[in-house]
Every structure is written in structure tokens, then in C-alpha cells.
């Protein structure tokens, strides 16, 4: 196990806004906690249903005859990511097993209703979402305990570091603007999907990238633990640029390595959007600092 950890600056009085951000995320998570409708969505997303969806999507795309059997499930998965198709398929005419098609249409309507009533859909960022406010609200929502914990662990480390170095105002700006950049990354680079995006990871990527660029000469302390024997645990100080292969390259690899048909549960494009913002903003601030224009930010500390 190896985790970055910042020693000595984690106190509430040193970085109150960083802690407030974490508290706000936890508060929103608790308030928006709702059981996952597995029984309703799984029935629609099982293998049998995916094959059927594949047949229908093939017809919708103007295919003739029968597609390769191997491709049916993938076509079905692609259909689930095609918002236009999924929003109007029940009104379309299809050829084939009429009984199964009727049932599929009923299931589709029920599936959509289930999704639309969920808080993640209301406050999250959907691919076809036009509401500007959802670009902010999605940053404070989380899908589950593991999602929240992993994001908050990294957030507290880097938010505290940024606040301690540059002040609370800048922290809030990077968090929110990074989240908005993440939202654009999701919409521009991402693959169309019915599932809404939620989570602070876009903002978090922006914060990490910003810190790594702005404080490039700094070393980040990492705590490692292999076993409780002496020599197998302790601190190691690594340069901030190590964060890039750790985060940026792995997100890029995951983005290029994820197939359009299957998709992924992680919005790598939001990470990339946030990270690009962090890098650019970090460089701007470095230049600004170089010419002495950043002093007012420090004064807010």
C-alpha cells in the first residue's frame, strides 16, 4: 500500500475550506443516499435482453439480414449508450419476435422511468443535460461509500495542500472550475451514455494537476506499508511530477483502452478535462506568480 500524505498541515485551522468541502460532500452523499434499483435495471440489462436489443438496434441502424451472432450483445450494449435510440425506441416498428419485442418496449419505458426518478439523474450530469447548474451539482454527488471514501481521501490531501499554499479562495475556484472543465471533458470527449455522471473526481483531478504544476519543485510525502516489520513501512518523499504517470497517464490509457460498445463505469474523460484545466491554470498561476501578480491570493491566507 502506498498513499500520498501531507504531514503537518491537516489541521482544521490551517485549511478550514478544504475540510468544509469534504464535509459538504459527505453531507450531500448522506442526504442523497437511495437504494439502487437493481431488480428493475438488471432485468433490462441481462444477456437475453442485450441480444434482443442488439437485434432491434441493428434494424434501427438500417442493417439488413442478420448481424453476426457474436456482435449481437455488443450491438445491444451500444444501443444502451445511444440516447436517441433509447429515448424513442418504444415508438418504433421492428420486425422479429413480436411477443419479445412488446415486452422489451414495456421494460424500456419502465427502465427509463426508474432512471429519471433517481436523484443521481436529477442532480447528476447527463450526456444530453442542458441545465448549467448540473455542472456544479454533480461535483458533490457520489454513487457509493467506496466512491466517496476514495475521492475524499485524495481531496483532503490535495485541497489542504492547495489551501495552505495559496489560500481558500483559489481552492474553491480550482475545485468548481475544474469540475466544470471535467463536465465539458465528459460531454466533448466522452461516449454517449444514459447513465448520469456524478462525483468529485473531475474537480479532484484539477486540484492534483494544479498542485503538481504549480509546486513542481516540491516533494510529496508518501506513506508506504508492506508489512509491520521494520524497514517495510515508512515515509518516502517523491517529486510531484510523479503524480502525472500515476494519474494522467493511467486515465489516458483507460480512455484509449475502453471500447465504445462496452463503456466504463468511470468517467475518465471528466478526469482528463479536470486535469487539463489544472495543468493550464497551474501554468498561468506560475507565470503570474513569477511577475508578482499573485500576491493578493497569498494575502488571503
Amino acid at each position: 500500500m502506498i498513499v500520498p500524505w501531507l504531514k503537518g498541515i491537516l489541521g482544521w485551522n490551517v485549511s478550514p475550506l478544504a475540510w468544509t468541502l469534504v464535509a459538504l460532500n459527505v453531507f450531500v452523499f448522506v442526504m442523497t443516499l437511495e437504494p439502487a434499483p437493481w431488480n428493475k435495471t438488471r432485468a433490462f440489462q441481462n444477456a437475453e435482453s442485450l441480444y434482443l436489443t442488439g437485434h432491434l438496434y441493428y434494424q434501427y441502424r438500417g442493417g439488413e439480414g442478420l448481424p453476426e451472432r457474436d456482435k449481437l450483445a455488443l450491438l445491444g450494449a451500444s444501443a444502451l449508450r445511444d440516447i436517441k435510440f433509447m429515448n424513442q425506441a418504444e415508438k418504433m416498428e421492428f420486425k422479429g419476435d413480436a411477443i419479445a419485442i412488446e415486452k422489451w418496449k414495456t421494460d424500456l419505458v419502465s427502465f427509463r422511468e426508474t432512471l429519471s426518478g433517481r436523484l443521481t439523474k436529477i442532480f447528476g450530469l447527463s450526456f444530453d443535460d442542458e441545465r448549467p447548474l448540473s455542472m456544479i451539482t454533480y461535483q458533490f454527488m457520489h454513487a457509493g461509500m467506496i466512491h466517496l471514501l476514495s475521492n475524499m481521501m485524495m481531496l483532503i490531501i490535495f485541497a489542504v495542500a492547495v489551501e495552505a499554499q495559496l489560500g481558500g479562495l483559489l481552492l474553491i475556484f480550482v475545485y468548481l472550475a475544474g469540475g466544470v472543465a471535467g463536465a465539458y471533458g465528459f460531454k466533448i470527449l466522452g461516449q454517449s451514455t444514459l447513465a448520469p455522471m456524478i462525483g468529485a473526481s473531475g474537480s479532484l483531478s484539477a486540484l492534483i494537476a494544479f498542485y503538481a504544476v504549480f509546486e513542481k519543485k516540491k516533494r510529496v510525502s508518501f506513506f508506504y506499508f508492506l508489512s509491520p516489520f521494520k524497514g517495510y513501512y515508512g515515509w518516502i518523499y517523491l517529486p510531484t511530477y510523479l503524480i502525472f504517470p500515476l494519474l494522467f497517464v493511467s486515465d489516458l490509457a483507460a480512455y484509449f483502452g475502453t471500447s465504445v460498445e462496452i463503456g466504463s463505469g468511470v468517467a475518465y474523460t471528466a478526469h482528463l478535462g479536470g486535469m487539463i484545466f489544472g495543468i493550464v491554470f497551474g501554468l498561468i498561476m506560475r507565470v503570474w506568480k513569477h511577475y508578482g501578480g499573485i500576491n493578493f491570493v497569498f494575502s488571503s491566507k
Binding site: 442478420l66 411477443i99 517523491l238
Partner: protein
């Protein structure tokens, strides 16, 4: 010209002067290298990984999938070997080693590691990774912490820190070497088991069977017998009803017909779907209605009506499906006179051999020709596959035990047990489990152990309860056993087979009038007067006479004649 003196011994390395790198630092350096390089490697291989992911979901057992995985592993190894070799040649360390102040040095020559030396080291290191990193364990036992890749390339990892490692304690060395020895013995033993298993599979022709089972849109076993497109579905349905092909085959044929939009065979396809969903009444009815909606004049529509109205007798058998449905009808009505004749007619068609053979054994037994039935079974036994052997073996074993339960060695039970044991009880079915347990009880032995049913019980809690009530090894009292059987017999849900066996058990063992009332209720409600129904009827009639439930016995007779159906409360009065 100066010639080198090759007879001269190499200078002994002065390794004792060097500071040996601690194992913990080497381990951490390795983890750091993994952390740093794995995202870069993933990025380089991202397009290949994407293709692998797609293949994994579409055809995980195809050759393409394995080739893609192989190419990715090869490319990954190539990247690791070259990168590591370059880092060691130019900086004497990988990034992870640099962070932990470790250095790879040659034991002879200058302080620099030559590229071929570094390449050899990296190549062997990668091979060790492929062997699940087990060879690395040597780092714990070697005096100078030099595993295979260090020794072969004549290098050593040292630390630049003030304090070096002292090397392992002799006891530590001994312990690690012993563990490695045990591991090697374990691997050898395991490998020999695997090789034997593969050899046995090859001998049984299982690899070929797996190949043949790979189906495309159309079912291969149907194509082999029928050229005519129109009759494909009729043939597929009939063979499905006979248990000769699985649901995958039937659905493949039906789906092909439906999605191809060939109107003339769509009615057959809907009929196939209705038969496939026969245990889901709502779905089955929808498909049956759709058959006549698609084509209201024709064989499929007639058959769907016959299926919807069970009392319609199928007299005209113009299709194989009609023949099969008629056979099922005769079996349900206990009409075994015509059943044998119909089976003989069916045997003229290819693809029904196993079904016909099994049913002839059953029909002969039911007709009271026990010896002929057993003779027929031994005649076909070796030609049956394992599942058929288990099915018919369990049936005949159960029948013999029901006829006479005692310390008798029934050939059918013996053969069943041998077939099951040969396949390590992997083909255990509900019927087989009940037969084997019943035989144990009749013979009062404890062989085979109930542990062999463990996985079957896990999937089937009802069976577990049934066997618990049947087995003398169970701690339950006789009252508790009867109660469990009652619950199983009069439950509206669950396995029909277990329900019927429990009813049969109750009709033998129960003394309660209330139980007989309920048995009557079941007999009256059940319109399938098949062999098991008749057995329960006869047994309850016998027990009723013994218990002097005269009214009950009379009512049973009336029920059989079909003239009056009394309410259950009136039966034993």
C-alpha cells in the same frame, strides 16, 4: 601480439566488501517501478487492450482472443526487458531503485553494466515474473541476495545507504530452501494430476464434443438431419420434446425463423417458443395465441390449440411434433398400450434413438415385462451417454426399490452408482440422488457417503430435506420425518418429482386420515394419470385398506372410473 591466458582463474569477486541491498528496499523499488511503468505500458498497449476487452465479451474462447492476449503479453515483456536493460545500462538502476538508493553493479570489470549483461538480466527477470515470481524467493535465501537473474548476468544489487544488509541467517536460508523444495514437489504432483485428467478427457473424446457443441445461428444437430427449411422447426421441436437437443438449439432455430421474417415458418417458431416457455404459463399462452394469429390454418395452429386445451386428443399425426405431443399425452393418461407402438413408429426417424430406447425400457417395465425391460436396458447401456445412463439407470433403480426394498443387489442401482462414481458424481441429478439414497436405506449401508451429494444439496434445499427425511443417518424422529414429507408433498411450489416421491412415501408410511384426504385431493386434482400417479393411487389404496379406511378406498375406485369427484372432506367419512 598478446594472447590472453584463458587458463587463468577469474579473480574472485570481493562481494564481502560490498553493501548488500536490503530485501525490503528491493521490494519497494519493484512496487515503485510497477506504479510508474504500468500506466505507461497500459497507454502503449491501450488499443490492443481495447480489442481484448471486446473479444472477451463476444468470443472469449476463440483463437483470436488467445492470440491477442499472447501478443499483448509478448509486447509487454518486450517493453519491460528493453526499458529495464536501458535504465540499468545507463544509470545502473531503474527509477524505483534510484528512489531507494539501490544500484546494480557488475561483479567483474568496470563499474558499468554492459548492455548485453543488462539485457540478459532483464530477460531472466521477466521469465521469473512469468513463473509467478517464485524464483525471486531465492533473494531470501542466497548469501549475497542474488537470485537467478543476478547470478546469471554476474551482477549484484547494492545499496548506497550507510548501512547494508547482513545477508540471511543460515536458518533462514535453510527454511526458504525447504519451502521451495516442498513447493516444487507440490507443483510436480499437481502437474501429473492435470496431465492425467487431460489424457482421460482426450480418451473419452471430450475435446471433440466441445468443438461440436459450438453453435452458430442454426443448430448443427438439426442441419445434420434435415435439409428442408420448412421441416427444420418441426424436427427441432420434436427432438427438444424428446430431450435429444437442448433449449439453446431450439431457441437458435426459432429465433432464426422469427428474425429472418420468413412468414411461412414463423408460426412454427412461435410454437417452439411456447413449448420452450411451457413452465411460464403467461408467456407460453401469449406465444400459443400468436401461433394462430400468424397462420390460422395449418399444423402449428392445430397443435397450439391442442396444447391450450389438454383434452383434445391428437389423432392425426402429420408432423413429428404431433407424434411427440401425442406420446406425451398417452404417457400422461397412462395409456401404455398404444405408447409402445407409437415409439416404434418414431424410431423410424433419425435423431430419436436415445429417447425411444429409454422409453421402451420404461414402457416394458410399466407393462409388467420386468425382465424384458432390464434386458433392453443392458442391451443399450453402453451406447448411451452419461446423462442418459444416469437418467434411465436412476429410473429403473427406483422402480426396483419401490417394488421390493431389502438387502438386494439390483444391477440397475449398481450400474448407476458406477457411472456416477466414474465421473466423480459430477452428473448427479435429483432422480439419481433419490435412488442412491433409497438403495442405501433398503440395504442399510452407509455407502456411498452422503458427502457425495453435497453440491447437489447446495443447489436444491428441497432435495436435502427429502433425503434428510429418508436417511437413517438423520437425527430426526419419525414424526419429524413424516412432517417434512407432508410439507414437501402438499406444497404448491417446488419440484414435481420430489412432491410425487413425498406423496408416495406418505401413502406408504402415514397413519393419518388427514394425509389420505390430502392425497385424494391431489389425485383428484391431477389430470395427468401417468405411471407415478398410478403408483401413488395403488399404494394409497393398499394403505387405505390396511388402515380400514373403507370409504376412502371406495371413493378412490370411483375416482379412477372418473364418474364422481368428491370434495376432499368427504373422502374418509
Amino acid at each position: 601480439m598478446v594472447f590472453l591466458d584463458f587458463t587463468q582463474q577469474n579473480e574472485k569477486p570481493s562481494v564481502h566488501d560490498l553493501k548488500i541491498a536490503p530485501v525490503s528496499d528491493r521490494l519497494l523499488a519493484f512496487f515503485f517501478d510497477v506504479v510508474i511503468f504500468s500506466p505507461i505500458l497500459s497507454l502503449i498497449l491501450s488499443q490492443l487492450l481495447k480489442k481484448i476487452e471486446l473479444r472477451y465479451y463476444t468470443s472469449p474462447e476463440s483463437m483470436e482472443f488467445y492470440v491477442l492476449v499472447g501478443v499483448s503479453v509478448a509486447l509487454g515483456l518486450f517493453f519491460v526487458i528493453i526499458t529495464q536493460a536501458l535504465f540499468i545500462t545507463y544509470w545502473n538502476a531503474t527509477p524505483g531503485k534510484m528512489f531507494f538508493k539501490l544500484k546494480v553493479i557488475p561483479l567483474h570489470g568496470s563499474g558499468k553494466v554492459r548492455f548485453p549483461q543488462a539485457l540478459l538480466r532483464s530477460g531472466l527477470w521477466s521469465l521469473e515474473v512469468l513463473f509467478l515470481m517464485i524464483p525471486f524467493v531465492e533473494v531470501l535465501s542466497h548469501h549475497y541476495r542474488r537470485p537467478l537473474h543476478d547470478r546469471a548476468s554476474d551482477t549484484m544489487v547494492i545499496t548506497l545507504k550507510e548501512q547494508g544488509d547482513l545477508g540471511p541467517h543460515p536458518m533462514e536460508t535453510h527454511f526458504v530452501r525447504t519451502m521451495l523444495f516442498i513447493l516444487v514437489c507440490g507443483v510436480l504432483f499437481w502437474s501429473s494430476l492435470i496431465v492425467t485428467q487431460f489424457y482421460r478427457m482426450a480418451e473419452r473424446g471430450e475435446f471433440k464434443r466441445h468443438e461440436l457443441e459450438e453453435e452458430q445461428y442454426l443448430c448443427a444437430s438439426i442441419t445434420a438431419q434435415v435439409d428442408d427449411e420448412e421441416n427444420r422447426l418441426d424436427y427441432a421441436i420434436a427432438r427438444y420434446l424428446a430431450g435429444e437437443v437442448g433449449e439453446k438449439c431450439l431457441l437458435a432455430e426459432a429465433d432464426f425463423a422469427l428474425w429472418q421474417s420468413e412468414k411461412d415458418i414463423q408460426a412454427w417458431a412461435y410454437l417452439a417458443k411456447a413449448i420452450h416457455y411451457q413452465y411460464d404459463d403467461e408467456k407460453s399462452d401469449l406465444y400459443l395465441d400468436k401461433v394462430c394469429e400468424t397462420e390460422n390454418q395449418g399444423e402449428p395452429c392445430f397443435l397450439s390449440q391442442a396444447l391450450q386445451h389438454e383434452n383434445v386428443r391428437l389423432k392425426k399425426k402429420t408432423s413429428l411434433t404431433a407424434m411427440m405431443l401425442s406420446l406425451k399425452q398417452q404417457s400422461r393418461q397412462g395409456d401404455y398400450q398404444d405408447y409402445l407402438q407409437e415409439l416404434k413408429n418414431l424410431s423410424q426417424f433419425p435423431g430419436f434413438e436415445h429417447f425411444v430406447q429409454k422409453e421402451i425400457v420404461k414402457a416394458l417395465w410399466i407393462a409388467g415385462e420386468a425382465e424384458k425391460s432390464k434386458g433392453a436396458l443392458w442391451g443399450i447401456w453402453s451406447g448411451l451417454d452419461i446423462q442418459d445412463q444416469v437418467e434411465i439407470g436412476a429410473w429403473l433403480c427406483q422402480e426396483e426399490l419401490d417394488q421390493k426394498c431389502g438387502n438386494i443387489e439390483y444391477q440397475s442401482c449398481q450400474n448407476l452408482k458406477e457411472t456416477l462414481a466414474e465421473n466423480r458424481y459430477e452428473d448427479m441429478t435429483q432422480e439419481a440422488a433419490i435412488s442412491v439414497v433409497q438403495e442405501r436405506e433398503c440395504k442399510k449401508t452407509s455407502e456411498p457417503s452422503l458427502l457425495v451429494f453435497h453440491s447437489t444439496f447446495e443447489d436444491n434445499p428441497e432435495l436435502k430435506l427429502f433425503v434428510g427425511a429418508l436417511s437413517s443417518e438423520s437425527p430426526w424422529t419419525s414424526e419429524k420425518r413424516i412432517q417434512v414429507m407432508r410439507d414437501l408433498a402438499f406444497s404448491s411450489r417446488g419440484s414435481k418429482l420430489i412432491q410425487k416421491r413425498a406423496l408416495f412415501y406418505l401413502s406408504q408410511k402415514s397413519n393419518s386420515e388427514k394425509d389420505f384426504q390430502k392425497i385424494y385431493e391431489w389425485l383428484a386434482k391431477n389430470t395427468d394419470h401417468n405411471w407415478m400417479w398410478n403408483k401413488i393411487y395403488k399404494q394409497s389404496e393398499l394403505s387405505g385398506t390396511k388402515l380400514k379406511l373403507d370409504q376412502y378406498v371406495n371413493n378412490l375406485k370411483i375416482l379412477k372410473e372418473g364418474s364422481i369427484r368428491l370434495p376432499a372432506s368427504e373422502v374418509t367419512k
